[in-house]
């Protein structure tokens, strides 16, 4: 059974509200089960040769409006990162990237956070000068690209932001 066919089946399950669907064709068997209430739902896809029931894929679907591509296609990250409207936040100086004001403190921002101009996104330490890097636009953090404690070069992209 092809991915496209499975995708169509999942769409059918999601669109119709069917709780569970099992399709067998030749030696392939696909079992799709939807669970969860209004707060979220999970789609379990199991494909296996007909005689055995060993699952080879189990995929969770985010609560909000699951689509077939979310489940079977590229991950949301990859899909979003090619978005030409994304803006990058570059490092204004060379230094060390810190995601929080001090070890153990809350991160300044996480992926998915909504930001406004002036919001501190991270600190870059350069020679003991702690530079608070602030947002200049309104939008949503799509991707944090640097790991805590890593060196960054001048102009290196720190975040990708979806403006809105």
């Amino acid at each position: 059974m092809t991915l496209d066919e499975i995708r169509d089946l999942i769409k059918t399950v999601c669109d119709t509200g069917i709780a569970e669907l099992e399709v067998q064709r030749g030696e392939n068997r696909v079992w799709i089960k939807r669970s969860g209430g209004s707060s979220g739902q999970e789609v379990t896809v199991t494909q296996s040769p007909a005689p055995t029931a060993a699952p080879f894929a189990q995929i969770s679907v985010p609560p909000a409006a699951p689509s077939a591509s979310d489940i079977m296609g590229a991950s949301p990250d990859e899909a979003d990162l090619t978005d030409p409207t994304l803006k990058s936040v570059p490092a204004p100086i060379v230094g060390t990237y810190y995601e929080a004001a001090s070890p153990g403190a809350d991160r300044f921002v996480r992926e998915g956070d909504h930001i406004k101009p002036g919001k501190v996104l991270c600190i870059i330490e350069s020679m003991k000068l702690m530079n608070e890097i602030e947002a200049e636009i309104t939008g949503t953090i799509v991707k944090c690209l640097v790991e805590n404690g890593q060196p960054v070069e001048y102009g290196e992209t720190l975040f990708l932001v979806k403006p809105n």
Binding site: P92, I93, V94, G95, T96, Y98, A101, S102, P103, G104, A105, E125, S126, M127, K128, L129, M130, N131, E132, G149, Q150, P151, Y154
Partner: protein, 253 residues
């Protein structure tokens, strides 16, 4: 001895000075004032800091009335790339004052720890906030002893000289020196600051050190400063490393 704020104010009529009996950290209060648009030269000090701030959330031991703990707001117009050199300029500013007022010979451990006889007498933390530079200074003045974990690494002016010092005179001299060194950077660029720092620090060239780098501990010999003021290190494995942040410690073989 109680801090005579009026005396300091009369010595420094051009500076806004706020002095607190007790505060969490002068950095936080200075950041708040900078956000409200406080002018360059504004100083926030305290007799006691409950959570004096060091690098990466470390604490600065700030016992009541024995040290000088303050943050000075600087407003100088510099491209972001040149800003870190401020750190070096501040170290030079403090070392100059201590040399002049105490007769001691301070050393500067890159980027700007002020050392006397290999122990730290002054820590300087710099933060860029809302377009202002916050220069936080913790100077050990009249302490006669330090708690056990600090005993081997910290010292005070009194321990080194046997004399007590008036913090008012030190503050006035430090604030003036910080201001003028920041001005040197703003008008003359990085070169004069790098030259002053290199003359005042034994760490710039030919010093055997170890450095905490993101990839782990690196050992080598220091080999001068880059144009941005970063420390070059000839590593033991033959490669050259540029240190942009992090703890540099001497190694004695």
């Amino acid at each position: 001895m109680a801090f005579d704020l009026e005396q300091v104010r009369s010595r420094m009529p051009g500076n806004r000075i706020e002095w607190h009996p007790e505060i969490d950290t002068t950095m936080r209060e200075a950041a708040r004032l900078a956000g409200e648009g406080a002018p360059g030269g504004t100083i926030v000090g305290a007799e006691l800091q409950r959570t004096g701030q060091g690098r990466q959330g470390r604490n600065w031991h700030s016992p009541e009335a024995e040290g000088l703990y303050f943050t000075q707001i600087l407003r100088i117009d510099l491209p972001p790339r040149r800003l870190p050199v401020v750190t070096l300029a501040l170290g030079v500013a403090v070392a100059d004052v201590l040399k002049m007022l105490t007769g001691l010979s301070p050393d500067l451990r890159w980027p700007n720890d002020v050392m006397i006889n290999e122990r730290k007498v002054c820590g300087i933390l710099t933060q860029l906030h809302d377009g202002a530079i916050l220069a936080g200074v913790g100077l050990n003045v009249n302490q006669t002893e330090f708690p056990a974990p600090l005993r081997e690494i910290a010292t005070s002016l009194r321990i080194e000289t046997g004399d007590t010092f008036r913090r008012e005179a030190l503050l006035a001299a430090l604030a003036t020196s910080i201001d003028s060194n920041a001005r040197i950077l703003a008008t003359g660029g990085a070169v004069p600051v790098l030259t002053l720092f290199s003359a005042a620090s034994s760490y710039v060239e030919g010093k055997r050190v170890e450095v905490d780098m993101p990839g782990g501990l690196v050992r080598g010999i220091t080999a001068g400063l880059t144009a941005d003021g970063f420390l070059r290190l000839q590593s033991d494995d033959g490669s050259e490393t540029v240190v942009t942040a992090g703890g540099v410690r001497p190694i004695y073989d």
